[in-house]
């Protein structure tokens, strides 16, 4: 009995703080200690603005964060569903314009990355730096450029990772054999030629960053590697390889779905084409692969995920706190809870409905309960997911944000509208 009590106590302490020492890499602006944060958060409501398009993700958040926040921290989670994260960004900008500073804002926390983070950061509308100051942030691999850079821009402690995603593909094992799958862009090109009308990709553009990512990866393969693309935007490098990319995509065009005259505008459209058997490949960002969409009945149950051998962009998504958040303490506690090993283990399991993968570096977890939860989660990834080792082998980081808008504009011009390439 005594022993059980002690073990239970140890688990609880470990779960509450994850790293017992409380040695911080960073101070939390406005607070003198983590205990003060937890104390102030009591009775607060955290207004968490997040993309609300997936009922599975909504359900996961309410179940796996809402309940423990209430029971263990006396915090009420109020999840605000957004059709697009940029709406929250505009809200913060409006509040700033109206003079709602201090803690007079309305948004406590935003699920964010990329352009939206950059917009708020540039306008100095985020609270921070704080992200390396929460106890569980010690479990994050801050030395990883995929973590400390968001679309190539430094995070600087103004957002804390939640989960990760990596671009890869989905096919239907009832229609294609695993050994026939293309494992590179070159192989995909040959596959398209041999199977006219059976492939398409999302049009790169605002709201379809996955399509842009698909084209970015082609830059890496054609130019012989990802390494040279790391770092600040390089116009010369872009100009050197962009025509090659457009030539390749133009060569595919006549053999694409609808002869490349039109492209699906987003995830949902491409998925529907795949589900209805019009094309053979869907894209996914989820380490659970095809499982979440199979569970929702959106794609055939025989769907499986697969990866190329190289150049698949992976990145992290984050939580940020606006400068005028009324409940900063509750937001900090929530961001810390999200990184707790047992919550992280819950989010990667397809059965729980969340989209994405680990936000922490699982090798940094030392407490036995956390390790156990992680080991169990690893067993439950399901067979609809791509081989994690193959994904890891192909992983590259995203590149400077300037490339994104460049690629989107030039793709529209040269590939979609077919304007003549420069020289």
């Amino acid at each position: 009995m005594m022993k059980l009590k002690r073990t239970l106590g140890a688990v609880l302490v470990a779960a509450a703080t994850a790293v017992g020492s409380g040695a911080w890499a960073q101070d939390l602006p406005g607070f003198s200690s983590w205990d003060e944060v937890v104390e102030k958060a009591k009775g607060q409501t955290v207004y968490w603005y997040m993309w609300g398009g997936s009922d599975a993700i909504n359900g996961f958040v309410d179940e796996f964060y809402g309940k423990p926040l209430k029971e263990q921290y006396d915090i009420t989670l109020n999840r605000v569903p957004l059709a697009d994260t940029v709406d929250a960004v505009n809200q913060v900008i409006s509040e700033k314009e109206a003079g709602a500073t201090g803690d007079k804002g309305t948004i406590d926390m935003i699920w964010i990355n990329g352009e939206n983070f950059f917009t708020l950061r540039q306008a100095d509308l985020l609270y921070g730096p704080w992200a390396e100051g929460t106890p569980n942030s010690a479990l994050v691999d801050w030395s990883n450029p995929a973590v400390n850079l968001d679309f190539g821009r430094p995070v600087d402690g103004y957002e804390s990772p939640w989960s990760s995603a990596q671009f890869h593909f989905v096919y239907d094992s009832a229609r294609l054999k695993e050994e026939d799958l293309p494992r590179s862009y070159a192989a995909l090109g040959s596959w398209i030629e041999a199977n006219p009308g059976r492939f398409t990709y999302m049009a790169p553009g605002p709201g379809a960053f996955v399509g842009t990512r698909f084209v970015k990866q082609l830059f890496f393969e054609l130019s012989g590697g990802h390494d040279q693309w790391v770092g600040p935007f390089n116009q010369e490098l872009y100009d050197k390889w962009a025509p090659e990319v457009w030539k390749t995509l133009l060569a595919w065009k006549p053999n694409l779905w609808r002869e490349g005259e039109t492209y699906p505008a987003g995830n949902a459209e491409l998925r529907e084409l795949f589900a209805n058997g019009e094309v053979e490949f869907d894209f996914t960002q989820s380490p659970s692969g095809a499982a979440p969409n199979i569970n929702a009945g959106l794609i055939p149950p025989t769907s499986r995920a697969f990866a190329f051998d190289a150049n698949l962009i992976g990145d992290f998504n984050y939580l940020a706190i606006p400068f005028n958040a009324p409940n900063k303490a509750a937001a900090l506690v929530t961001a810390n809870l999200v990184l707790r090993p047992d919550r992280q283990a819950a989010q990667v399991q397809p059965a729980n409905g969340f989209c994405c993968g680990w936000g922490i570096d699982v090798n940094k977890v030392t407490d036995p309960a956390g390790k156990e939860a992680i080991a169990v989660a690893m067993q439950n990834l399901g067979d609809a997911a791509a081989d994690p080792n193959r994904l890891a082998a192909a992983l590259v980081s995203d590149i400077a944000a300037e490339y994104q808008s460049k690629i989107e504009a030039d793709w529209q011009k040269y590939v979609l509208r077919g304007e003549p390439l420069p020289n």
């Binding site: 207004y47 603005y49 993309w51 609300g52 398009g53 997936s54 009922d55 599975a56 909504n58 359900g59 109020n78 605000v80 569903p81 957004l82 059709a83 697009d84 709406d87 929250a88 505009n90 809200q91 409006s94 509040e95 314009e97 109206a98 003079g99 709602a100 007079k104 309305t106 948004i107 987003g266 995830n267 949902a268 459209e269 998925r271 529907e272 589900a275 209805n276 058997g277 019009e278 929702a296 009945g297 959106l298 055939p300 149950p301």
Partner: protein, 315 residues
């Protein structure tokens, strides 16, 4: 004589034929129109209960309640007992609270729009005065100006007023609150209410009021016993418009409510991005159900026979 008889029979049978043909066209038109109205609703029903409905299935091979489970309106299989339902609904699913809020805001907006719109409509319908055209034009401008044009600026002003009110010791939130959202819903609602009611008053004869007054009735009695019964059908139609316009607001609710005032359209727009057709269809059914119910109840006021558009003038 026989000629005459013959010609008269021919002409009457012609008339009958024409009538018969006309009737066919008439009923065919009605049928096609009904089909156009009903087909989308049928499509929603099929989608809301279909599971893995892919090409080339013409009708779904599999049916499921998963969309309704995902909306947390029906417990998962195994929990579908009375207790299961009670405990699920006791947790107030998002859809239920959004439905309630939409109904509440719709009712409040309808009430206030009538209170504001009635005097304006009476003036516009009964009297001629200088500048009437300009006022009429201003009344309908909200239907011309896109909401995004004024709502962003309005939101900033609401936030400013909130701050000023708080500083003055009257903490009242307009921005991000039900009050603010209700106020801003009045903007697109008012043109419909004023236009409908001024049409009613255009055919209204105020002499009846004079008559009642000469018989000794006070203003309240006159309104209650003379004016109100005369305009009631028109009032009903105006209220219907007001409710439906408020019911379907997304952009204004989002911008002024700051995502905190979660009405049904907010959930619908968020879900539409997901591409889960079953969930979208189920939400759509919930969204259109009250509208259809109200329409059915109100249909007799909307038919040509009612005095909704005629008012006293035709009696």
């Amino acid at each position: 004589m026989s000629d005459l008889t013959l010609s008269s029979t021919t002409s009457s049978s012609n008339v009958r034929a024409r009538r018969g043909f006309g009737r066919v066209v008439f009923y065919l038109t009605i049928f096609v129109m009904c089909l156009m109205l009903i087909l989308p609703v049928i499509a929603f029903f099929i989608n809301a209960f279909a599971f893995r409905w892919f090409y080339p299935q013409f009708v779904p091979n599999e049916w499921s309640l998963q969309a309704w489970e995902r909306l947390r309106l029906i417990p998962r299989a195994g929990d579908r007992s009375l207790e299961g339902f009670i405990s699920l609904w006791a947790s107030v699913p998002d859809v239920v609270s959004a439905l309630g809020l939409s109904l509440f805001i719709g009712a409040v907006v309808t009430g206030f729009s009538i209170i504001i719109g009635l005097p304006a409509a009476r003036a516009l319908g009964l009297y001629r005065f200088r500048g009437k055209r300009i006022i009429e034009f201003m009344v309908i401008t909200p239907t011309i100006v896109p909401p995004i044009a004024f709502s962003l600026g309005l939101n900033i002003n609401f936030i400013r007023w909130d701050l000023a009110l708080e500083a003055a010791g009257f903490p009242l939130d307009l921005s991000g609150s039900i009050i603010g959202v209700s106020i801003v819903h009045l903007v697109p609602v008012m043109p419909y209410v004023v236009l409908t009611l001024s049409g009613v008053f255009a055919n209204y004869n105020p002499d009846f009021e004079a008559q009642a007054r000469s018989l000794g009735a006070g203003p309240v009695r006159i309104f209650w016993d003379v004016t109100l019964p005369a305009i009631l059908p028109g009032l009903f139609v105006a209220a219907l418009f007001a409710f439906l316009v408020s019911w379907s607001q997304y952009l204004l609710t989002f911008l002024i409510g700051q995502g905190r005032v979660i009405t049904l359209p907010m959930l619908l727009f968020a879900a539409a991005g997901s591409g889960n057709n079953a969930v979208i269809a189920a939400l759509s059914l919930i969204f259109i159900a009250p509208a259809i119910l109200i329409l059915l109840v109100a249909s007799r006021f909307l038919s040509g026979e009612s005095s909704a558009v005629g008012g006293f003038g035709r009696v």
